[in-house]
Symmetry: C2
Subunit: 282 residues, 2 copies
Amino acid sequence: MITLKGAAVSAKIKEQVEELLKGNTGRIPKLAIVRVGERPDDLSYERGALKKMAAFGLEAECFAFPEDITDQDFKKEFSQINESRDIDGILLLRPLPKQIREQDIERMIDPQKDLDGISPINIAKVFAGDDSGFAPCTAEAVVEVLKANEIPLTGKKVTLVGRSMVVGRPLSMLLLKENATVTICHTRTENLKENCRNGEILIAAAGRAKMLDASYVKEGAVVIDVGINVDENGKLCGDVDFDTLEGTASMATPVPGGVGAVTTAVLAKHLVLAACCRRDTV
Amino acid sequence: MITLKGAAVSAKIKEQVEELLKGNTGRIPKLAIVRVGERPDDLSYERGALKKMAAFGLEAECFAFPEDITDQDFKKEFSQINESRDIDGILLLRPLPKQIREQDIERMIDPQKDLDGISPINIAKVFAGDDSGFAPCTAEAVVEVLKANEIPLTGKKVTLVGRSMVVGRPLSMLLLKENATVTICHTRTENLKENCRNGEILIAAAGRAKMLDASYVKEGAVVIDVGINVDENGKLCGDVDFDTLEGTASMATPVPGGVGAVTTAVLAKHLVLAACCRRDTV
């Protein structure tokens, strides 16, 4: 079985970013990471994003707010970041605390700075197969892993486990754009195993530690694991029990070191695209 | 095999509409049908919609414009309809002629009047499983047919043929909201027959006359035909060769007399919901 490492895919995306930056005569594109509170998941993602931006030669600034910031105050702060001429793109760490009306922020964010595809305009574009907007980075990262490893998608049966707004739903649309035949499974699916074993490509994005083992995998299938969970020993693990796959899957992504590393590379690419686009139009 | 007639579903929706109207103390809800040119499809749909509004005791007015109206002139006219206090909901017949930038209109239309779910706000809501907006009427009509006939969806395998923005894509999300396991097939799908035969419910929305016959249908499956085509004899027909289904499908919708009749009933329901909603907030 071939292990599909995220680092190799990230390196390819870095080349694309460098190519895009070649024509860049202005200042370095700058990312704003907006965080409310100190959730460990957010802090970990923030560290990863900062590291990647630095590695790709891009700027980033964190805007952190106290967990009990009011809806009104947060919106004022967010507006300033959203309108700032210095900021080319925004990553908003979510979910936000309950007092903030997240839906308002989704509608406020400038679609051209909305690198993680949370605005209705970008969601509608993903839905329509229009790639002029930004898809959620994790969903796009999965497609990047498949493409970078030259895994054909046209006409292929892809089974997706998970229907979140961050991965499952947008990814189903991105895969449709690549002409895959997509099956979306979830917690209420009957015969999950049978559905999974039907997929030439199996994508796990359910958020449950090691819920899928080799018995869910078709012989020779490609397995992409989007899950980031902590196992019973406190160790990072995916939705797939990777160690069981040898002899069944033809290729699989590990966790850590798989899709996660590609997500921040996609974020960096989105940032550069946003910066180029702004300079074209401003 | 049971024939699932649209008229019975439409009658149930009419009851819901009457219930909603009971609390209505203001004027009768009014639909604006906006048409550019004289395409036979548009005229036929317009006639159906007008007839249904009259049958449901609702008002409707057609706003027809010449096929060569300029982008600018059309936008001016559309704005007036969009902002009119007399109009509770809008049905825009599409596609528009090429000189009109349809995407601009999708972004202009007031989401609360957008009865056929073409605005990014409503698309994003359908995508997220948020039913506070409006889904495209035809997609919702399919779910209404299934629900009115008490066909369970939770956990069931539904195969959908077609990935249009009007039916396939939004319908996949509506079915996901009903907890179905959804497979989306299309022109590039390999082994279409096998995929279709996998579905406990098979939904045809491909727009190709009689492309699916009984050999594509699992024994006992429910078949919903969204297609409206003209066959070799100039007769209206669906995407499914209905006459072949006896003995294979357990239930099926005919064309005409199936989903089509429900689509305009859903439009009427959306109109009344839009009117109620406006009066709550205006």
